[in-house]
């Protein structure tokens, strides 16, 4: 059978999970944006067809 | 664009080329005896290592025999696949195979047949091995044989396909396992369950797992026949 946790520690798990999720997604986003700029810097502007 | 795979199947060269390929590979094995002298001892070694890892004095080895058997088969399969394509290359390039006039689907089937035959030999020896080493008394003979044949067909087909994918790469030795093992996990599950049913004299359930193995085999044979050519071109 499962272990039923006290309300206080349940909240700890919840916040930890949300923190991990936001951390992972935020970290990937930051890497993605930064990498995009880095590669974009090396390309002449005509190859970047999406910026307006 | 002509459907080369379908054309060759109609022309019958696919099977002829497959026979040629498997004949060549078997002749090669007969002369070099690599499977016999290296992969077979490896398979037996795995059985022994399992005994070191698990307590041989309790009944755990006997109870886990179905799973351990198929695990040993899977690990040996990786070596067999690598070997099947290593024979084609001097330094990682499968030019001869690609430039030959053979039908790619035929090459796929031939390679798969070669891998399958080697696996069957390994399985027979492993079966004797687990019976002797783990004390598992075999039951349900027909189910056991059917499971072995069907599982091996699936493993060989998937192996032939993924083998050619990895063959041309420098990292093939580390890449092939992670590509193959998730794919053949259903075969491990089904083979283990079927063997368990056979050993427990409850063959009824086991045959359903054989159905899964049959479906898996058909699927990968079909995928291989069509996908082998582009993969061979790129290897």
């Amino acid at each position: 059978m499962g272990v039923v946790l006290a309300e206080a520690s349940a909240w700890t798990y919840v916040t930890a999970t949300y923190a991990v999720t936001i951390g992972l997604l935020g970290g990937y986003t930051a890497w993605l944006i930064q990498k995009g700029r880095k590669v974009g810097r090396q390309l002449p502007p005509e190859d970047r067809k999406w910026s307006s | 664009m002509p459907d080369l795979a379908a054309d060759s199947m109609l022309r019958g060269s696919m099977l002829r080329d497959a026979a040629m390929v498997v004949g060549k590979d078997l002749r090669l094995e007969w002369r070099s005896r690599v499977t016999l002298s290296q992969i077979l001892p490896f398979a037996l070694l795995v059985l022994i290592l399992f005994a070191f890892a698990l307590d041989p004095d309790r009944r755990i080895l006997e109870e886990a025999t179905p799973g351990l058997f198929w695990l040993a088969v899977l690990f040996s399969m990786l070596l067999a696949i690598q070997r099947a394509y290593a024979v084609e290359t001097a330094d990682g390039v499968i030019d001869a195979l690609r430039l030959s006039d053979l039908d790619p689907a035929g090459i796929f089937l031939g390679k798969a047949a070669g891998i399958g035959l080697h696996l069957l030999v390994l399985e027979v020896v492993l079966f004797v091995g687990v019976t002797v080493l783990y004390g598992a008394t075999p039951h349900g003979g027909l189910l056991v044989v059917a499971t072995m044949l069907l599982a091996t067909t699936g493993l060989a087909a998937a192996g032939s396909l993924y083998g050619v994918l990895a063959a041309g790469l420098r990292v093939r030795d580390t890449l092939l396992p992670i590509l193959m093992l998730p794919v053949v996990a259903p075969v491990l599950i089904a083979g283990t369950e079927a063997f368990s049913a056979a050993y427990a004299n409850a063959s009824g359930d086991g045959w359903k797992w054989c159905g899964l193995l049959a479906a898996f085999s058909v699927l990968y044979l079909a995928i291989g026949i069509f996908a082998f050519e582009p993969l061979l071109e790129e290897s």
Binding site: G2, E7, Y13, V14, L24, V39 | -
Partner: protein, 271 residues
């Protein structure tokens, strides 16, 4: 284009000149950010304002992350499979970029699915892993697509890489239902005590939180895809340019040596 937390003076609608942002992605990004804030409020506060909640009631909040992550990863791998098929048909670099980008983001979401599922499991089962059928097949799917990414890293030639990973992208997705079915069947035979399911019965605002979470996850997937795709596309263009540059240097070398330039050394059309 950044979320304000990472902003370095870039305005709400001021796009970084070197980045992969556009008006469209900026607008979507703002929508995503707002949705995330709303979602967090609904998930963590509004969905269960009753203070006398038991532990189970609180823990379902983890589901609001787990289920949406799963939806996003399946969507991502489906897109990879379709884009792979389109690449094999059309042979343009865009489809390959789409396939690889979606696979990478898919792997991210699978990791999240496994993490959130494991944490939820720990709170209920007391252990970090219980071979629950869905989590187990998800774990296999994770390794499956790690293999896809590994294959891409192993092939240098862009066309060869695109072709082989396209075939793998389709086969991998075909494997997903096979693995699911086998693992499900397998676990259904061996389920001992009642293992609390990963599908809690919820309704009302809590169901809304779950549904809204799925919408947010998909929006986030699209936004990440826009940037990741553009990055892949830019890297492919850079690769082609690098090749052109190398070929041009080679031709210059050949001319300098006084020999004739072999006709094969021409600038290949950038894909």
């Amino acid at each position: 284009m950044t979320s304000p937390s990472a902003g370095t003076g870039a305005g709400i609608m001021r796009l970084h000149p070197d980045g992969t942002a556009s008006r469209g992605s900026r607008i979507l990004g703002i929508v995503v950010l707002v949705s995330v804030v709303v979602f967090l409020y609904v998930a963590l506060v509004a969905s269960a304002p009753d203070k006398s909640l038991d532990a189970q009631g609180q823990l379902v909040r983890i589901m609001y992350l787990h289920v949406p992550s799963a939806i996003a990863c399946y969507t991502a791998f489906f897109v990879t499979a379709v884009a792979s098929g389109m690449y094999l048909w059309k042979k343009t670099v865009g489809w390959d970029a789409l396939a690889s980008s979606s696979a990478e983001i898919g792997v991210l979401f699978v990791a999240l699915t496994l993490l959130t599922g494991s944490i939820w499991g720990h709170t209920t089962w007391g252990t970090w892993w219980e071979w629950d059928p869905r989590l187990t097949s998800t774990a296999l799917m994770f390794v499956l697509y790690l293999g896809y990414l590994a294959l891409r890293r192993a092939i240098i030639d862009p066309v060869s890489r695109a072709k082989q990973s396209a075939i793998l992208g389709i086969i991998a997705f075909v494997n997903v239902p096979i693995v699911h079915y086998s693992v499900d069947w397998w676990r259904s035979l061996h389920q001992t005590a009642t293992v609390a399911s990963l599908d809690p019965k919820i309704d009302g605002l809590r169901l809304f939180a779950l549904m809204f979470g799925m919408v947010v996850a998909l929006l986030l997937y699209v936004w990440l895809m826009m940037h990741r795709f553009r990055l892949a596309f830019a890297e492919a263009a850079l690769e082609a340019k690098g090749l052109d540059l190398a070929l041009a240097e080679r031709r210059a070398e050949a001319r300098a040596d006084g020999g004739s330039v072999p006709p094969s050394v021409t600038t290949g059309g950038a894909s």
